[in-house]
Symmetry: none
Subunit: 191 residues, 4 copies
């Protein structure tokens, strides 16, 4: 019942435009226009463009994590948990290309570095699922004994790459292919 208030419209417009044109290709005036609000209005909800960008990132990430955790069962065996996460991740990106593009833009920008640092160094709680899972995997000796960031890279690097290729129409992913890809990632990290 939350009437799609102005803030939501702004966030939606920013997501669409930045995903399509990048940070520098999406001026505040254009975002305001697309959101159907005045240019000044954005500044009632976000201190400045940087804050809008960062905040939008948080929201996108939050939605992503929510979906990843849907049906995620800590008690299931390690491999199954990994496949769940990998598959869910790839599917989410394919179904939400704007979110994927936005995250990509974000990570590949000055904004992204600070976030990555925090995440790797363990400040954020949200991606703990991944950390827990992987630390679990290491200690159970199911996974290769490599530094956590390396395992992340082996597991998710390929997924992000194929997601991008799919969104850019270089390849076309279906459920079967997704499963095989995640399986291949598993081969990369398992002992």
């Amino acid at each position: 019942m939350t009437k799609p208030d102005k803030r939501d419209e702004i966030v939606r417009a920013a997501l669409e435009l930045i995903a399509e044109y990048g940070f520098h290709g999406a001026p505040m005036a254009m975002i305001a226009d697309r959101a159907g609000v005045g240019a000044g209005t954005i500044y009632r909800y976000f201190e400045n463009k940087d804050v809008l960008i960062t905040e939008l990132y948080r929201e996108v990430e939050e939605k992503l994590y929510a979906v990843l955790l849907e049906g995620y069962a800590t008690e299931k065996p390690f491999r199954e948990r990994f496949l769940h996460l990998g598959t869910a991740l790839l599917r989410y990106f394919i179904q939400n290309p704007l979110h994927f593009r936005y995250l990509e833009q974000f990570h590949n920008s000055p904004y992204g570095v600070a976030f990555r640092r925090d995440k790797i160094l363990g400040k954020k709680g949200e991606c703990d699922v991944f950390r827990e899972l992987f630390e679990d995997g290491i200690s159970q000796q199911v996974m290769k004994d490599l530094p956590l960031p390396v395992l992340f890279a082996l597991a998710f690097g390929p997924l992000l790459t194929v997601a991008r290729d799919h969104i850019l129409s270089f390849i076309s992913l279906d459920d079967a292919l997704i499963a095989r890809i995640v399986d291949a990632c598993w081969d990369g990290i398992r002992r």
Copy 2:
């Protein structure tokens, strides 16, 4: 004694600044400044900023390919060839972080998409080594039977990710770790 002529200085400055601040964070005036030349001088060597960016990309890519092909022997067994390329790639990026950052910036920009498309669709000749190698691998049934872009993703996605993590000091790679990482990538693509 090779006098570092202006063009070289411009290219060097552009590489440094764009790698660090991105395309939009590196104004022509700043590049000129860092290169120790007048603002107008850049335009004697490059028609405009876009041309500078694209040209610089070509040069970086060329150097990279040259290094990759050093000691690359077509007659060696498939696995060995893959390990050679993967290792060389990762090493190159670690030793030339500016090049890595620049390529990343480039690929993650309007400029990059056209290039990616050409490469995927097979126009460029230089990355044929990769294509040949992988098509070889598929036909010899050493590699998983997956679309070429997917195999590329499995093989190089993790390498790019760890390269970035290393450059951002999130991890520290040495020769031993590099070898293990490339090995893990091999696990991802091999049958």
Copy 3:
């Protein structure tokens, strides 16, 4: 009490500066300055400098035609109508030297050629008075049987020249002299 809104100020400033210094001698920043607005403000009203120039031309031309048609009576004899138009034209330019200079600048520029062509070829409706009058004059055999553009030249060429000379203070026109000049033009075109 009509608040001189920004657009008006910009138009006025542009007219003054371009009339005095020409298109290339009147930078946008200078126009903005003279108009008492910020540099960017001009672009809220005119897409770019070309549009400003063209639009300003239209406004000047419109005012001129309005004055020319004041008291112009189609039913009066040909000679009288010609004298009315010639006199009004010359008076208008003398009273609005900026307009005269601006029109001159405009016609003597890439912008102007297209306009002239359209006018000669008969696209524009506003100068139909002239065309109608002259075609009338030809068919009534009051005027020399010469091509229309030639008659225009004979009739208005001298008027524009003396207008310029007056504005540059090379001569000083009063009503008596104006009448004699227009009369002389009449001698040039009449049979």
Copy 4:
């Protein structure tokens, strides 16, 4: 036998380019290029662009006057002398459109005003033919008793206008039409 030395080439190139593109559309580098000389070379012959432009004007004017005076006989009757000058003027412009365009560009620019002033106020000797002729005409009471500049305007204003129209292909002048036009100008100034 004067080998077409660099200076001549520069003057020729400047004439062509400025006639076609205007002062601001013809950069020094472009002129140098067209002249087949180095950019710096122009400055050996002309102190700066303004001097080049002014000097070029002088040369064009000089050639024009030379042609006008060819066959001009002071002893002939007034009307004949006028027709000679008018016809020669119009013919010259039609045969040398670049010269015409250049003179037009020049007069319609800051450069031109000073020159006009000098000429009207009688400093220059070259156009004395015109002055003498017209003063003659006035004192003989063949011409209307109007200020000299006005007579100039009546006599030559139309000629310049039709010359431009011809060069822009709005009309097409032949010898017969030229004669009739000059005759019409005569009607404008004669008593």
